[in-house]
Every structure is written in C-alpha cells, then in structure tokens.
C-alpha cells in the first residue's frame, strides 16, 4: 500500500482484495472433481500434509489469481463421514483440522448424472454458512442421456449460483472460471460470514427437498442408455464378467511383456551404440570407465524399461478412467473376503502392480482398519513395475526362448509364473493373517457399499497428462537417483585399484569387492555371488537399481578387452548358474528391497512396530523361498 495514493480508498478494501483466500473444492468421488481442479489451477497441484493425518493435502493457486488457493478436498458422499479420507474433508470444512482455518468459500462439484444425491449434498453444505458456487459437472454425459435441467431455476431455488461444466473439455469450464471470479470478489468485499452449523439435518427431509426442487428444474429426466445396461449385464455376470476380467488382465500382461519388446530392443541398441561411441571418442582411462561402465551401463540398463512401464501405466490409467474397476471389485469381493480383504481393496491392490507407494496410500479409502492393515502388509508382494527389469534381465539371460505347446513362449511363461507367485503369496499371507486374527477378536461384519459409477470414455487429455507425469518421474529418478548411485557404485568398484602383483580380477580389491565378500557368507546358502550381494545394497533405493548396479559391477569387473562393454545378458548367461538365477528371482518376489515402500508403510500405519514386523516377515519369507528354490533347482539342474 503506497502512501502516495491519491484516490481515497478504504483501507480494509485494499487489504481484502489481496488477502489470501482459500476455496475448498468439494464433491463426491467419481464426479470429475480432480479434472475440475486441474482446469482451475492448470494442474499444478502442490502436495503437502495435513497435520497428524496421512491424507495428502492437494492445493494450488487459481489461474490468474495468485492470492486464491484452491484446496482439493478428498471426495465424500456426505458430511457424515465413513473413512479417513472423508473425515479430512469434514474436519477442514468445519474448521476442526489443526493448522487449517475454515475455507473462505466452497466450489461444489456436482454430478449431473446423479442430481438427486448432489442436491442433497448441497443442502448439507449450505448449512455450513459458507459462500458456495456449484459446478454441475458431467453435464455432457447427462445431456446425452436425455437430461434437460435449467440451472437458473436450480440457482433460484437453492440461492446458490449453478453453472454447467464439462471439466474434461477445454472450453467446458469457462463459465466456472467467470463464476469463481465473482465468488472471489464477493468474498473479498464482504466481512467474514458468520458460520452456523445446522446439526441434525435429516437426510430424508433433504432428499424430499431435493426431489421437490428437481420437479421444477428438470423438464426431462435422464435414462441410463441401453448399451450401459447391457454392458453391465456382461461385466457384472458371475461367469462372463470374470472371463472378461481375466481377458483384460491377460491383454495387459501380453502388452507389457511382448508388445514393448521392439521398442525395448531399439533403446537397448541405442544405449549400446552410445557406449561404443563414447568408448571410441574418449581416451582410455578413468573418465572413460566412469562414463561408459558407470553411467551408461548403469542408467542405460534401467532406461531400457521405459516402454514396458509406460504401457503398464497406460492400461491401468485407461481402466481407472473408464469406470470399469469397481465392476472388477464387485466380481472379486467374494474371493477377496475369503482371504480377509474385500472388493474395496481391489483397486489399491491393482495399483500395487504398478508401484506399491501410491497403492499403500490409496488404502486410505478402506474403512475397515483390519482390512487396511492387511492390504498394506501384503501389497509389497505384488509384482511392482520396478521388479520387471530384474525379472526380464534374468529370464532373458537364463531361460531359453523356446516355444512350448506351440503357442506359449517359455520366457513369457516364466514371467507369468513370477507374477502368479507374488499374487498367490499375497493371498496366502492375507488368509493366514485372517485365521490368526479372527481367533483373537470378534468379527463383526463390514459393509462393501461401493458405488458403481457410470461408464465413461477414458479421457485422452487426462490420461496422457498422467502418463507423462509418471514416465517423466521415472526418467527423473533414472537421471538423479540411479545416476548418482551408479556413479557412487562405480567409485566403490574402481577404487582402490588392484596392487601391482594382483592375482584375481581388479574388482576384488575395491571397496565394493571387499564389502561384497564380507556380506557373501550371509547369502552363500542361497547361491548369491558377491557381485549380486553388492548390487542388493543400492537396490534398496529403488529395485530397478539392482539391474544398473549389476551392469556397473560386471562392466568394471570385466577381464580383457572383449569383456568390456558387453551387455549384461551374455555375462549373466555365462556366469550365473540356473539355481542361482532362480534363487535371485525368488528372493526378489518377496524381499522388501525398496526403502520408499517401507517409508510409506511407516507413514500410513503410523507404527514403527508394524512396519518392522512387515519388513521382517517379508525378509524371512524371501530368504526361505530363495533357499528352497536354490536347493531344489540345484538338485534337478545342478548348481
């Protein structure tokens, strides 16, 4: 505020127009709230933490208004909440969340395809006494189903401005942006409103009110289209539905394994060429070794897997966006309850096949504490995308590429077995937990109560945005963490160099060599060589790093000129026995070799004891299974 202002303006108004304003984005799950958030803020969500709760706080500035913060609250069906996520929304709106003041206004994202419930929610929100504007989202879907509703009448009746929005379309939110601007002016210009809380608003009464209003605002009701009902008859059918689900899972598996192959080969060729080029270009010596054996071998071994990981994420995103996943959860509820979980855990478990870290976080939507803990405890066993490089490398190195029964590839079958092993182990452990626990505590029933949202076309813009985020995060990880670890590891395997009268390979005398030989006795019973032992350590940062580490260790340790710059596969093929390779695979099916997962488990369970227990049982399982596999394979095929 400048002291040379010539136009007399009330001081309060000047302060108010630049004072920070928080607008809460509220809505039911599946109503397009996230898409709306992305449009309002340009998808620049900052993720922070609410104090004392492990729910993410997503917020970002409204486009064009740097002082306005949009807070994306977790989706909820009502202010009478059922799970941890929903609790947070309620607490923030009531001003009961420590560290957060009551929002200045609410942007309510209503689902036009379920107007009745949306109006009921709005009536509930009105009792908070905060200024509200309503984005009637999915209005294109509702319109295509025959809904004709006059939002002006809705605005009149409810005393709250309504605009129709189509959050996934570029122009679909312009009215909302304008309305948001008006809301901000309103909030800036007025005193803080008095909040009153209408405690016992009867749900039945609210619905009757909603029905009443809709009878005036809606001139033509919507109908679920025929194709929707017919599709659901198939996908929800106890037999056909399961077949469809299995087919979908099979297609994803095939795509990730087989379709990515040509692209992976190209990248591998590229990495190889870069290595060769640099070798010719750089003078022999330490620098050449660092760059070729450390960085290129290290980072290159991991970057090769970008196509596979991209395809995996792509399929999962399409499934999620389409609204199909709750149908799969419906089909699997029975099976999952038998092992102590439920349909609600299906989506977190499925995302565990991509990465356990967000999967563990998404278990927050599971209302039952017991079930949530069990889901978290078995999630690390599901074959995450980071294990793919390890599996693929070793399978390519030790399993011959034969065709079995005319159509199945032996390598593909092995990969499939590994996936199944992880899944079945998770089911078995969960079942054991259930047997053990129900002996102790009473088991009162728990509801399923999941919404089956309408099918929708997966949104290309949203999916490509998310995919880009995930792939660039992966590449960034490769560029930073893996790069750094590769360099560090290279240093450890190169220095100190072998003394003049050295007998064995130079690498034996390095720090890494010494450390590896030190740990080797622990892993000798399961057949691990010291090079594998030393690679396990950086593998804790991210599982893919094991491949990078093996790349560096073997590249530097190569004896003679031909050995340098050989890719890993021939090396492993030559140096690892079958039993060792299988034991390594078995170890990685179970071992919690990922600090990020352990860290998020600690965060979500809020209990060091439980985290250590989970880590412990997984390591015991990993070592035991590796030992069993090593001995059996050794007996059959020789060590």
């Amino acid at each position: 505020m400048s002291s040379s202002v010539s136009i007399p303006v009330p001081i309060q108004q000047i302060k108010a127009s630049t004072a920070p304003i928080t607008l809460a984005l509220v809505g039911a799950p599946n109503c397009g709230k996230t898409a709306t958030f992305n449009v309002l803020t340009g998808s620049k969500a900052k993720v922070a933490n609410y104090s004392g709760v492990t729910v993410d706080k997503r917020s970002a500035a409204l486009l064009g208004h740097s002082n306005v913060n949009i807070l994306d609250l977790p989706g909820t069906y009502s202010l009478k909440t059922a799970s941890l996520d929903e609790e947070v929304t309620r607490k923030v709106l009531f001003g009961q969340m420590p560290g957060e003041s009551v929002p200045d206004g609410i942007i309510f994202v209503a689902d036009a395809t379920n107007l009745r419930m949306s109006l009921r929610m709005l009536l509930e929100l009105k009792s908070l006494g905060l200024p509200i504007i309503v984005a009637l989202n999915l209005s294109d879907v509702a319109h295509s189903r025959g809904l004709v509703v006059d939002e002006a009448i809705l605005s009149d009746e409810l005393g709250v401005p309504f605009v129709k929005t189509v959050a996934i379309k570029r122009k679909g939110c312009e009215p909302l942006m304008r309305l948001a601007g008006e809301l901000i002016e309103y909030i800036s210009g007025s005193d803080k409103p008095i909040h009153f809380f209408d405690s016992d608003s009867d749900t039945h009464t609210m619905y009757q009110q909603a029905d009443d209003i809709l009878s005036r605002a809606v001139t033509s009701a919507q109908r679920l289209p025929k194709w929707h009902e017919r599709l659901d008859q198939l996908t929800l059918h106890p037999v056909i539905g399961v077949v469809i689900l299995l087919m979908i899972l099979f297609v994803i598996f095939q795509a990730v394994y087989a379709w990515a192959a040509p692209l992976m080969d190209s990248i591998e060729w590229l990495v190889g060429s870069v290595g060769t080029l640099l070798m010719q270009w750089l003078p022999d010596g330490i620098l050449q070794s660092l760059i070729v054996d450390g960085i290129v071998a290290g980072v290159g071994s991991v970057v090769v897997f970008v196509p596979q990981i991209t395809l995996l994420f792509l399929f999962l995103l399409i499934l999620e966006d389409s609204g199909y996943l709750p149908r799969a959860a419906f089909l699997l509820d029975n099976l999952l309850s038998k092992v102590g979980l439920s349909g609600r855990s299906f989506i977190p478990l499925l995302s565990g096949f991509a990465c356990a870290v967000p999967a563990v976080m998404s278990t927050r939507t599971i209302p039952s504490h017991k079930e949530r803990l069990m889901a978290i405890a078995v999630l690390p066993m599901l074959t995450c995308s980071a294990r793919l490089p390890i599996y693929a490398l070793i399978i390519a190195a030790v399993i011959p590429s034969q065709t079995v029964l005319g159509i199945f590839n032996l390598q593909g079958i092995t990969l499939f077995i590994l996936y199944v092993a992880g899944t079945l182990s998770a089911a078995l452990v969960s079942w054991l937990f259930k047997r053990f626990h129900s002996a102790k505590s009473e088991s009162s029933a728990f509801p399923l109560l999941m919404e089956l949202p309408t099918y929708r076309m997966p949104n290309v813009k949203h999916i490509s945005g998310e995919l880009w985020d995930k792939v660039s995060a992966f590449l960034r990880k490769a560029g930073t963490v893996i790069f750094t670890l590769s360099v560090v590891l290279w240093v450890l395997v190169t220095f100190p160099s072998a003394p003049a009268n050295a007998v064995g390979p130079a690498i034996d005398y390095s720090f890494a060599g010494m450390l590896g030989h030190l740990i080797e006795p622990i892993f000798a019973p399961i057949g691990f060589t010291w090079q594998m032992c030393i690679s396990l350590i950086p593998g804790l940062a991210a599982r893919e790093v094991v491949v990078a580490a093996l790349g560096t260790v073997y590249a530097v340790g190569g004896v003679g000129d031909e050995a340098i710059n050989q890719t890993l596969i021939p090396i492993i093929h030559a140096q690892w026995g079958l039993a060792t390779a299988f034991a390594f695979l078995a170890f990685y099916v179970y071992a919690p070799m990922c600090l990020a997962t352990l860290a998020v488990i600690r965060r979500e369970t809020k209990s060091l004891k439980q985290t250590l227990a989970i880590t412990g049982y997984l390591f015991v399982l990993a070592y035991t299974m590796a030992w069993i596999v090593y001995r059996i394979t050794g007996q059959i095929f020789g060590f």
Binding site: K80, R120, Y207, A221, Q222, N334, S444
Partner: protein, 112 residues
C-alpha cells in the same frame, strides 16, 4: 398398472400408489429376484454390523436409499450369492453385500 423405472421427481403422481403394492408384503431386498422392481419401505438395523450399524444406515440414506424410492437388483454373484449390484430409480448403482441388503426393507411391485 405397469411401472417404468425412469427417475420420477414428482413422487406424488408417477410413483405407484399404495393400492398397487398393498398385496406385496414387506421383505428385505435380499429376498428379491434379479430385476424385480421394488419400493423401499425403510432402512432397519442389522446387528451383525455392531457399532457401525448406525453409520451404515446413515450412509445408505445419504446415497439415496430412502422410503418411497424405487430400487431393483441388477446383478448377483454366482448361484445367487453376494455381492449384489443394486440400482436406484435415479440410475445410480452400488455394490452391496448381503448384510447391507438385509437392512433395506421393501415391497415388491407386481404389475397388474
């Protein structure tokens, strides 16, 4: 009088009157066949849920399972076992287990 399943906002004119459903006794949604239209009578307690029963009743009501609402089962599990996919007259669909269905008391609507 046959009843269409399109959402009816004017519950006084389009909904079936009591005389149509008088003959049907109150039963839980669990006992109905697939696609059998029914009208909800009330949400009752189910002690299998223990302390959270009240919260579940509330959540069912919040989702729209209220008296005088049309509902029908869309899908059942293998051999008619749980879970069940249930559709309200508004088109909203939910997956529910047997215990939740037992809380929803309704009357079957028979077309005359």
């Amino acid at each position: 009088m046959s009843v269409t399943l399109s959402p009816s906002y004017s519950t006084t004119t389009d909904a079936p009157t009591l005389t149509d459903t008088n003959a049907s006794p109150v039963c839980s949604l669990l006992e109905l066949k697939k696609r059998q239209p029914a009208i909800i009578d009330e949400i009752v307690a189910n002690h299998r849920f223990g302390e959270i029963d009240g919260a579940i009743s509330q959540r069912l009501k919040d989702l729209g399972f209220l008296p005088d609402t049309l509902v029908h089962i869309v899908a059942k599990g293998l051999f008619g076992k749980p879970p069940y996919a249930v559709q309200l007259s508004t088109g909203a669909q939910f997956s529910l287990r047997a215990d939740e269905l037992m809380k929803i008391k309704c009357r079957a609507i028979t077309s005359a």
